[in-house]
Subunit: 132 residues, 2 copies
Protein backbone atom coordinates (compact mmCIF):
# COMPACT_ATOMS: atom_id res chain seq x y z
CA UNK A 1 0.00 0.00 0.00
CA UNK A 2 1.50 3.33 -1.08
CA UNK A 3 2.04 6.31 1.23
CA UNK A 4 -0.79 8.22 -0.42
CA UNK A 5 -3.32 5.37 0.00
CA UNK A 6 -2.20 4.91 3.58
CA UNK A 7 -2.57 8.64 4.21
CA UNK A 8 -6.06 8.71 2.78
CA UNK A 9 -7.05 5.66 4.84
CA UNK A 10 -5.81 7.34 8.00
CA UNK A 11 -7.67 10.54 7.11
CA UNK A 12 -10.86 8.57 6.62
CA UNK A 13 -10.38 6.92 10.00
CA UNK A 14 -9.97 10.37 11.58
CA UNK A 15 -13.13 11.59 9.84
CA UNK A 16 -15.06 8.59 11.22
CA UNK A 17 -13.78 9.33 14.74
CA UNK A 18 -14.78 12.98 14.48
CA UNK A 19 -18.34 12.15 13.40
CA UNK A 20 -18.57 9.51 16.14
CA UNK A 21 -17.62 12.19 18.67
CA UNK A 22 -20.40 14.51 17.51
CA UNK A 23 -18.40 16.70 15.15
CA UNK A 24 -18.84 17.24 11.43
CA UNK A 25 -15.73 16.46 9.40
CA UNK A 26 -15.08 16.94 5.70
CA UNK A 27 -12.15 16.00 3.54
CA UNK A 28 -11.25 18.87 1.24
CA UNK A 29 -11.25 17.95 -2.46
CA UNK A 30 -8.20 18.31 -4.68
CA UNK A 31 -6.80 21.24 -2.73
CA UNK A 32 -3.82 21.11 -5.08
CA UNK A 33 -5.87 21.39 -8.24
CA UNK A 34 -7.65 24.53 -7.04
CA UNK A 35 -4.39 26.26 -6.09
CA UNK A 36 -5.87 27.71 -2.91
CA UNK A 37 -4.36 27.09 0.52
CA UNK A 38 -6.70 24.48 1.98
CA UNK A 39 -6.31 22.04 4.85
CA UNK A 40 -6.88 18.29 4.46
CA UNK A 41 -9.85 18.19 6.83
CA UNK A 42 -12.29 20.77 8.15
CA UNK A 43 -13.93 19.66 11.40
CA UNK A 44 -16.65 21.69 13.08
CA UNK A 45 -18.94 21.71 16.06
CA UNK A 46 -21.09 24.51 17.46
CA UNK A 47 -19.20 27.21 15.57
CA UNK A 48 -15.80 25.90 16.60
CA UNK A 49 -13.87 25.01 13.46
CA UNK A 50 -10.60 23.12 13.08
CA UNK A 51 -8.43 23.23 9.95
CA UNK A 52 -6.37 20.05 10.06
CA UNK A 53 -3.33 19.17 7.97
CA UNK A 54 -2.73 15.40 8.22
CA UNK A 55 0.41 13.31 8.02
CA UNK A 56 0.99 9.59 8.39
CA UNK A 57 4.53 8.38 8.87
CA UNK A 58 6.51 5.25 9.66
CA UNK A 59 9.49 7.40 10.66
CA UNK A 60 10.40 9.07 13.94
CA UNK A 61 10.40 12.58 12.57
CA UNK A 62 7.72 14.41 10.60
CA UNK A 63 8.64 17.29 8.32
CA UNK A 64 6.35 20.00 7.00
CA UNK A 65 7.14 22.33 4.12
CA UNK A 66 7.28 25.99 5.09
CA UNK A 67 4.70 26.70 2.36
CA UNK A 68 2.32 24.09 3.83
CA UNK A 69 2.47 25.67 7.29
CA UNK A 70 2.18 29.21 5.97
CA UNK A 71 -0.87 28.22 3.96
CA UNK A 72 -2.49 26.48 6.92
CA UNK A 73 -1.98 29.61 9.03
CA UNK A 74 -3.29 31.85 6.26
CA UNK A 75 -6.38 29.67 5.74
CA UNK A 76 -7.08 29.52 9.46
CA UNK A 77 -6.67 33.22 10.03
CA UNK A 78 -8.94 34.10 7.12
CA UNK A 79 -11.65 31.59 7.94
CA UNK A 80 -11.59 31.83 11.72
CA UNK A 81 -10.63 28.17 12.15
CA UNK A 82 -7.99 26.80 14.54
CA UNK A 83 -4.92 25.42 12.75
CA UNK A 84 -3.89 21.90 13.75
CA UNK A 85 -1.37 19.37 12.50
CA UNK A 86 -2.62 15.83 12.88
CA UNK A 87 0.23 13.32 12.88
CA UNK A 88 -0.19 9.58 12.88
CA UNK A 89 3.16 8.00 13.73
CA UNK A 90 3.13 4.22 13.33
CA UNK A 91 1.80 2.40 16.41
CA UNK A 92 0.51 5.67 17.93
CA UNK A 93 -2.89 7.24 18.04
CA UNK A 94 -3.38 10.56 16.23
CA UNK A 95 -1.41 13.36 17.86
CA UNK A 96 -2.35 16.97 17.34
CA UNK A 97 0.26 19.69 17.31
CA UNK A 98 -0.22 23.41 17.09
CA UNK A 99 1.99 24.88 14.32
CA UNK A 100 3.74 27.07 16.88
CA UNK A 101 5.20 23.91 18.44
CA UNK A 102 7.14 22.89 15.33
CA UNK A 103 10.87 23.39 15.11
CA UNK A 104 12.52 24.95 12.06
CA UNK A 105 15.42 22.93 10.68
CA UNK A 106 17.09 23.16 7.26
CA UNK A 107 14.32 25.28 5.74
CA UNK A 108 11.63 22.89 6.86
CA UNK A 109 9.44 22.68 9.91
CA UNK A 110 9.31 19.42 11.80
CA UNK A 111 8.73 17.55 15.00
CA UNK A 112 10.17 14.34 16.44
CA UNK A 113 7.90 11.48 17.52
CA UNK A 114 9.11 11.84 21.12
CA UNK A 115 8.45 15.58 21.21
CA UNK A 116 5.07 15.09 19.54
CA UNK A 117 4.07 12.58 22.24
CA UNK A 118 5.17 15.08 24.89
CA UNK A 119 3.64 18.23 23.40
CA UNK A 120 0.85 16.80 21.28
CA UNK A 121 -2.76 16.43 22.31
CA UNK A 122 -4.86 13.39 21.59
CA UNK A 123 -8.11 13.85 19.69
CA UNK A 124 -10.32 14.00 22.79
CA UNK A 125 -8.21 16.74 24.31
CA UNK A 126 -8.17 18.83 21.12
CA UNK A 127 -11.93 18.61 20.90
CA UNK A 128 -12.40 19.46 24.58
CA UNK A 129 -10.04 22.42 24.81
CA UNK A 130 -10.11 25.44 22.60
CA UNK A 131 -6.66 26.61 21.53
CA UNK A 132 -6.34 30.37 22.06
Amino acid sequence: MGAKTKGTGAERELIHKLWALGWTACRVAGSGSMLYPSPDIIASKDKRHLAIECKTTGKDYQYFDVKEIKELMEFSKKSGAEPWLGIRFSREAWLFIHPSELIMTKNQFGIARKKAKEKGKNLDLVLRTKHL
Copy 2:
Protein backbone atom coordinates in the same frame (compact mmCIF):
# COMPACT_ATOMS: atom_id res chain seq x y z
CA MET B 1 -20.29 18.45 -21.58
CA GLY B 2 -22.25 16.29 -19.13
CA ALA B 3 -24.33 17.68 -16.27
CA LYS B 4 -21.76 16.53 -13.72
CA THR B 5 -18.82 18.21 -15.50
CA LYS B 6 -20.86 21.37 -15.90
CA GLY B 7 -21.79 21.28 -12.22
CA THR B 8 -18.17 20.90 -11.15
CA GLY B 9 -17.12 23.75 -13.45
CA ALA B 10 -19.77 26.00 -11.94
CA GLU B 11 -18.68 25.00 -8.42
CA ARG B 12 -15.08 25.87 -9.26
CA GLU B 13 -16.19 29.23 -10.62
CA LEU B 14 -18.05 29.89 -7.34
CA ILE B 15 -14.96 28.91 -5.35
CA HIS B 16 -12.83 31.35 -7.36
CA LYS B 17 -15.36 34.14 -6.72
CA LEU B 18 -15.38 33.42 -2.98
CA TRP B 19 -11.59 33.57 -2.69
CA ALA B 20 -11.55 36.75 -4.80
CA LEU B 21 -13.99 38.30 -2.33
CA GLY B 22 -11.74 37.51 0.63
CA TRP B 23 -13.39 34.27 1.77
CA THR B 24 -11.90 30.81 2.03
CA ALA B 25 -13.82 28.19 0.04
CA CYS B 26 -13.30 24.45 -0.11
CA ARG B 27 -14.97 21.81 -2.21
CA VAL B 28 -15.83 18.80 -0.06
CA ALA B 29 -14.35 15.52 -1.34
CA GLY B 30 -16.49 12.55 -2.27
CA SER B 31 -19.18 13.37 0.25
CA GLY B 32 -21.06 10.37 -1.13
CA SER B 33 -18.25 7.90 -0.49
CA MET B 34 -17.94 8.86 3.17
CA LEU B 35 -21.69 8.48 3.80
CA TYR B 36 -21.79 11.58 5.98
CA PRO B 37 -24.09 14.50 5.29
CA SER B 38 -21.74 17.05 3.77
CA PRO B 39 -22.36 20.14 1.66
CA ASP B 40 -20.67 20.71 -1.71
CA ILE B 41 -18.75 23.79 -0.56
CA ILE B 42 -17.70 25.18 2.81
CA ALA B 43 -16.98 28.90 2.67
CA SER B 44 -15.66 30.81 5.65
CA LYS B 45 -14.58 34.25 6.76
CA ASP B 46 -13.91 35.59 10.23
CA LYS B 47 -15.72 32.73 11.94
CA ARG B 48 -18.77 33.00 9.70
CA HIS B 49 -19.21 29.69 7.88
CA LEU B 50 -21.51 28.82 4.99
CA ALA B 51 -22.46 25.27 4.05
CA ILE B 52 -23.47 25.46 0.39
CA GLU B 53 -25.27 22.83 -1.67
CA CYS B 54 -24.85 23.66 -5.37
CA LYS B 55 -27.04 23.04 -8.39
CA THR B 56 -26.64 24.02 -12.01
CA THR B 57 -29.64 23.71 -14.29
CA GLY B 58 -30.81 24.53 -17.78
CA LYS B 59 -34.43 24.19 -16.66
CA ASP B 60 -36.79 26.68 -15.05
CA TYR B 61 -37.31 24.67 -11.88
CA GLN B 62 -34.75 23.20 -9.51
CA TYR B 63 -35.63 20.20 -7.35
CA PHE B 64 -33.88 19.04 -4.18
CA ASP B 65 -34.32 15.64 -2.58
CA VAL B 66 -35.80 15.74 0.91
CA LYS B 67 -32.76 13.78 2.13
CA GLU B 68 -30.37 16.35 0.64
CA ILE B 69 -32.10 19.22 2.43
CA LYS B 70 -32.39 17.32 5.71
CA GLU B 71 -28.69 16.50 5.56
CA LEU B 72 -27.72 20.10 4.79
CA MET B 73 -29.76 21.29 7.78
CA GLU B 74 -28.27 18.59 10.02
CA PHE B 75 -24.72 19.41 8.95
CA SER B 76 -25.27 23.13 9.43
CA LYS B 77 -26.87 22.78 12.83
CA LYS B 78 -24.11 20.51 14.10
CA SER B 79 -21.23 22.57 12.73
CA GLY B 80 -22.58 26.04 13.35
CA ALA B 81 -22.59 26.93 9.64
CA GLU B 82 -25.37 28.70 7.74
CA PRO B 83 -27.16 26.45 5.23
CA TRP B 84 -27.46 27.84 1.71
CA LEU B 85 -28.61 26.48 -1.63
CA GLY B 86 -26.60 27.92 -4.50
CA ILE B 87 -28.47 27.63 -7.79
CA ARG B 88 -27.07 28.55 -11.17
CA PHE B 89 -29.92 28.73 -13.67
CA SER B 90 -28.69 29.14 -17.25
CA ARG B 91 -28.03 32.78 -18.18
CA GLU B 92 -28.27 33.87 -14.53
CA ALA B 93 -25.69 34.62 -11.89
CA TRP B 94 -25.57 32.36 -8.82
CA LEU B 95 -28.68 32.77 -6.68
CA PHE B 96 -28.66 31.79 -3.02
CA ILE B 97 -31.75 30.47 -1.36
CA HIS B 98 -32.29 29.63 2.27
CA PRO B 99 -33.77 26.09 2.61
CA SER B 100 -36.82 27.55 4.35
CA GLU B 101 -37.76 29.27 1.07
CA LEU B 102 -38.18 26.03 -0.86
CA ILE B 103 -41.62 24.69 -1.66
CA MET B 104 -42.53 21.03 -1.08
CA THR B 105 -44.12 19.35 -4.08
CA LYS B 106 -44.57 15.62 -4.80
CA ASN B 107 -42.16 14.54 -2.06
CA GLN B 108 -39.42 16.84 -3.27
CA PHE B 109 -38.41 20.36 -2.40
CA GLY B 110 -38.00 22.84 -5.21
CA ILE B 111 -38.02 26.38 -6.43
CA ALA B 112 -38.90 27.99 -9.75
CA ARG B 113 -36.41 30.22 -11.57
CA LYS B 114 -38.80 33.18 -11.26
CA LYS B 115 -39.27 32.68 -7.52
CA ALA B 116 -35.54 32.17 -7.04
CA LYS B 117 -34.84 35.50 -8.75
CA GLU B 118 -37.41 37.14 -6.49
CA LYS B 119 -36.41 35.52 -3.19
CA GLY B 120 -32.78 34.63 -3.83
CA LYS B 121 -29.77 36.68 -2.86
CA ASN B 122 -26.79 37.21 -5.11
CA LEU B 123 -23.37 36.25 -3.81
CA ASP B 124 -22.43 39.74 -2.60
CA LEU B 125 -25.61 40.02 -0.56
CA VAL B 126 -25.18 36.57 1.02
CA LEU B 127 -21.64 37.47 2.04
CA ARG B 128 -22.68 40.86 3.41
CA THR B 129 -25.70 39.80 5.41
CA LYS B 130 -25.75 37.12 8.02
CA HIS B 131 -28.84 34.93 7.87
CA LEU B 132 -30.35 34.60 11.35
